[in-house]
């Protein structure tokens, strides 16, 4: 089954809506709680990345019997150096975003930790695509 959501850049109050909805679905699918938690954390971090850095984005989630594929695409500044962004603690978040308790430089490392497969494509000044796959 397929679920789609849109995310608005800068809208921190509503970050977390897609991951909550996905969680509701997963909880009905007789999936182990730890796996669900990993998925929800990874998707939430990806959503916050869009909210904190990009202008707008979409989340497309596909679930089959064995796995969940989450694609988070945004229109935004892009990531110039993905390897650097993957380092724990590295952040380009603005002072304003940090003051809201986000932007600690743990987003992508946290996603990496909580997903089975992670693919990132990015183009500067255009946007970023993050694809995450978790197996049940």
């Amino acid at each position: 089954m397929k679920l789609t959501f849109t995310i608005q850049g800068g809208d921190f109050t509503n970050a977390g809506h897609p991951s909550s909805e996905v969680k509701k679905v997963l909880k009905q699918l007789v999936i182990d709680g730890k796996t669900i938690k990993n998925i929800v954390i990874a998707l939430y971090e990806a959503e916050v990345n869009v909210v904190a850095h990009a202008w707008k984005g979409t989340v497309t989630v596909e679930i089959d019997e064995k796995k969940i594929t989450m694609l988070v695409e945004d229109e935004g500044p892009g990531i110039p150096d993905i390897a650097l962004a993957m380092q724990a603690g590295y952040s380009t978040a603005s002072k304003k975003v940090r003051e809201m308790g986000f932007g600690a430089g743990m987003g992508l490392p946290n996603i990496k930790k909580n997903t089975d497969e992670l693919f990132i494509e990015s183009e500067v000044d255009k946007g970023t695509k993050v694809k995450m796959i978790n197996y049940f």
Binding site: M1, G16, S19, Q28, V30, G33, K37, V40, Y44, E65
Partner: protein, 456 residues
Amino acid sequence: MAGNPTYHSLDPAKCIGCTHCMKACPTEAIRVVNGLAVIDDDRCVYCGQCHRVCPTHAFFVVQDDLAMIRSFKYRVILFPSIMIGQFPGKYSEDQIYDGLKKVGFTHVYEVEQPQQILIDSINEVLRDQETPKPAISIYCPAIVRLIQGRYPSLTENLILRKAPHNLAAHFAIEQLLAEGANREEIGLFYATPCIAKIAAVKSPVGESESIVDGIINMNKLYNEVMKVISDKEVPDHSDQRKNLSSEGIIWSLTRGESCHFGSRSIAIDGINNAVRFLERLENDQVEDIDFVEMRACDQSCAGGILLAGNRFMTVERLERRAKRYPAAKDISAEAVKVNTHELKEKLVLDPILPRPHFIFGKDRAKVMEKMSKVQRIVCFLPGIDCGACGAPNCHALAEDMVNNKAKMSDCIFLQQMWEDEGRISARKAITNVQKKWGTDRFKADCNKRGRRNEGF
């Protein structure tokens, strides 16, 4: 999953088949069928929201007959301190205790004693490095059931220490045995402020069997006591309260527990607030909190559905009362005359297991198919969650449809459209609604119950 037994029921003569309870239920456990509310016991967590909002007081709780106490020689009434807060201020504690004796009890115990033993015991759990944080209190049984069913991964965070009624029950038994009673001569009766505690006593979670012999609805007990209470001078009962502490008296109020535990703690009252918090906790979005107290009712037990008094006045009276009592730590174990170690051991609960509620069964392939169907059906429903179909919202109706518990024609909007398209007759549409809500719904009747905000 084995079905839950029922601890509350609905009087069909009083139920008018409105939608108040169905809309208020936090677990979507209620549907209206043939003009009457029906509770799904597998989903129900006994929070009592339905009782609270019912305009005709159609819900009632199961309870034991007060006459059953007569079969015991030692008849102990165990009640939470909030019960004292129910009585008009002119009655003294002794007059209330005396009233309970006149009703037929031989021994009167407020349950929150000796409280220091429970405080110490919970602190031991919190000090244990193995305890997942935040640790969650099991005090409110509705919250425990909510976590088991809806947040199963959080059952690990529950603190496996029993509730005050168990503490006082063991304490009462020990004191009575010391007085020379035989165990089988002792009958323990718990006066409950809510339906969740009834369920907790009748089918306990984390205990093989309950220590309590019967439960009494606090509302009913209040009425019984009010019939016989004396406003003259009565014998002094203060020795029955000498182990009662200031902490014990306010334990059942909001922050009554959380103020004792952890360096950072949270107290939540109201089941919908608890749901919002548990969602965050489940997503790992709660940081550095050691202890969480959660109660299903607003103002915690002072807002219990079986209480007669105003919850805010009850809180005020208890807070004032607590000031007159000593601190729990100042009541020494020697004075309590109990074996602290033994009592502590009796407070340990067995692990509380998850009981996840799967709406569509457990076969993942079938569940996915059903969920996709729900998604498609929802596209055709109006999305205004009117409840006229007998389900709490459009999504719930779609779920019921794929589970073969509802039909497309239950939606009055779809029916209107079908009528317009000439697919069904106007007569048929009316009959459909009558089937759901009864024929009387269409009759003019100025005394029709459920109109406006009756009962609010």
